[in-house]
Amino acid sequence: MRSTFASIEIGRSALLAHRHAIDVTGHNIANANTPGYSRQVARLVTTRPYATPSLHQSTLPGQIGTGVQVQEIVRMHDSFVQFQINSELQTQGYWQKREQILGEIEATFLEPSEAGIRHAVDLFWQALQGLSNDPEEDGTRAVVRERAIVLTEAIQSAYRQFKPMQAHLESQIRANVSEINGIIDQVTALNREIKAVIVAGNTPNDLFDTRDQLIERLATLVDIQVVEQPHGQISVSLGGVNMIDGVSSRHIDMTPDEQTGFVQLTWSNTNIPVTIRSGELKALFEGRDVEIPYYMEQLNDFARTLITEINRIHKEGYGYFDTFDPNDYPDPATRPSPPGRLFFNDASVDAIYMDEAAAHISLSDDILADAANIAASRNGTIGDGTNALYMAQIKDTRVFGDKTDTPGGFLGGLVSGVGVKTQQAQTMVLHQEVMLGHLERLRGSVSGVSLDEEMTNLIMFQHGYGAASRFITAIDEMVETIIGRMGIVGR
């Protein structure tokens, strides 16, 4: 036999459940634009019906429902899509950073423009041609000297941009590693909290969302592997080493390299180097240790070859005041030999001029002191410009880049090389954007908040709530009849 007030209990459960569901809806609406938020759904189920089968079973026919309850609040979430997003984020982080770095390198060459090294080289060859046509003129010599200075400055200024770029990458690496260590701490703390909530029998939906967001950021930085563990915890590993394992964690240490001063990464309290295969950090390391040193070395190589080749020819020629009249020396053996002056400073002046040629390329003191010292003459006569012509002809000789390229070809190859790499990075970034866009739509489809849907739910729950109140009022009136109006016969 059911109690008189059992029906009120049904009404009460309906009121509570609808209030609860309205709160969940409100939470969804409130977080409609929160990044990383997964919509939540209050799962309504019936309470245990009356009565349960037993010996002393009620004699009433059928089981009667006893109301509604919110069984759980479910977080709408597709962990496979999330897994895919995490792995695509690594690739995207890598290519995005790489595109940025290569874009900067590409810009240092100032091509195509009249400010690049190629144009300066062209002007230099032109000046040497002019000198070979008029070796007697002071003017043509001065032009060669000025254009040579322009050329050295063009090479130096391109080269000088690489060092700050490298230093900038270094500081980004440091910042990223600190961020990773911070995320490790936060995720470990969240693991602990989540476990506590789950052990207590609840689902910490919002904590999951926060943790997913941290993991996403971590995945953009490095190529992590995420494995789920009991009690809602996760472990995160990088290159086979667990950085997060439940509530225990391992940080990344930064040790400056003794030679370069750049940091190298090791796992905290060990000597094991951190292996990174993708993500922003990989691109930063590649930029710092591979790309920038490569282009610096290419410029050094260019400057070195230029210095060697020009000097080799220049040393065999005669400057304006070294020239003589061959008729004064009927026997060629007695003629003055070339003074062997340098055009550019080289290792014979100081080793740095060849070691880091692009940074130090400069005119020799002889040339700076007097443009007349430019050795235009090959055979020692004043009107001979053959030596200048020989120097100008370096433009067509394949002595650059392991003796396979002309100077113009070498520079062209260098610049178009970085162009190709940048273009590839740009294509990959676009590709990843499309890919991630698709995955995020998939996730949004499951986890995103639809305001239309929430408003519909709101109306639904509001009406449910209203109806339940009306139900309680009806029961109230019925009970009022029993209590207030019955038993007053003949009064």
Binding site: P112, N133, T381, D384
Partner: protein, 320 residues
């Protein structure tokens, strides 16, 4: 699976689409503003390399055209000088023929000798012709006059009366320039008229003038001394030979000018070609770019309009 579409998804999607349209718009307007299709290597690495190469070729070609111009000027001066030499030799030949007739009195032959002596000085002057600051006939010795008169009073020849023509006479001419060495490809003054192609523009004075000087000096002395036999014999022959040599040199200059003109035409043609190629490689096709820009602009406007319609209304707008 039919996607469940949420408001945020739509907002993000339209933002993404708008961004990529804007990116293209930006690129086209950059192309229009600079007039260049390529403003960074990554816009077209291969085109970029080609453009760099063409630009250097253009630069180089212009220098070669410049060099050809220099050489043409030089040869013009040379030809003018050689023409004067021909005239001098012509006059000298007349004098010799005149003096060789034997019917002239000694005085008139002496007058011829004095004129012949002036012709020698004239010839030295022509030999020392300058082009700009350079002596053209001295080979690589461009700063010293290539021909210097040598006078030796002891060698002076007296006339029949025992008189001397002048106190100092040119008895020989010394060549102070350099000689052409056929074994050395860079001998003489050269300009580059193509990659690695040297063009020798100088005519070495010793190849052209020395015979003429010798002939003139001998003839003058014979006129003075009245040796008609030598005049009509050896002297006439010598001056004809000298004339031949000069004419050969003139013919060579003419030939070189012809060659240079051909080279010049070719270089001009090359310059036009390379300029056109360069423009095709790196210049933006204005009509096409404007059209593309307009198309992108339309897309952009359309998606803005669509977004304005789609994003704003939700169920909220229709609940009281």
């Amino acid at each position: 699976m039919a996607l469940r579409i949420t408001n945020r998804m739509m907002a993000e999607r339209s933002l993404q689409d708008l961004t990529s349209t804007l990116r293209r718009l930006d690129r086209y307007s950059e192309q229009l503003a600079t007039g260049k299709r390529i403003s960074l290597p990554s816009h077209d690495p291969t085109g970029m390399e080609l453009a760099m190469r063409l630009r250097s070729t253009l630069f180089e070609t212009e220098q070669y055209i410049d060099n050809v111009g220099t050489a043409l000027n030089w040869l013009e001066t040379t030809d003018g000088a050689l023409d004067q030499v021909v005239q001098v030799l012509q006059r000298a030949r007349d004098l010799i023929v005149n003096g060789a007739t034997g019917t002239h009195p000694a005085e008139s032959r002496e007058a011829l000798a004095i004129e012949m002596n002036q012709l020698i000085d004239d010839l030295i002057n022509v030999g020392n012709t300058r082009h700009g600051s350079k002596y053209i006939f001295g080979g690589e010795n461009t700063q010293t006059p290539p021909f210097a008169a040598v006078s030796d009073p002891a060698l002076l020849v007296p006339n029949a009366k025992g008189e001397f023509m002048a106190s100092s006479l040119t008895t020989g001419v010394e060549y102070k320039g350099t000689s052409y060495d056929p074994a050395d490809p860079t001998s003489g003054l050269n300009v580059e008229i193509g990659p690695g192609i040297l063009f020798r523009m100088s005519i070495h004075g010793d190849d052209v003038f020395m015979e003429a000087f010798d002939a003139l000096i001998a003839a003058r002395d014979h006129l003075w001394s009245g040796d008609t036999e030598a005049l009509s014999g050896a002297d006439l022959e010598a001056i004809d030979q000298a004339m031949d040599t000069v004419l050969r040199a003139r013919a060579e200059v003419g030939g070189r000018v012809n060659r240079l003109e051909l080279v010049n035409d070719r270089l001009d043609y090359q310059r036009i070609n390379v300029t056109r190629l360069l423009s095709e490689t790196e210049d933006a096709d204005m009509a096409e770019t404007v059209m593309k820009l307009k198309m992108e602009e339309n897309v952009y406007r359309a998606s803005l309009a669509a977004n304005a319609r789609i994003i704003l209304p939700s169920l909220l707008d229709f609940l009281r």
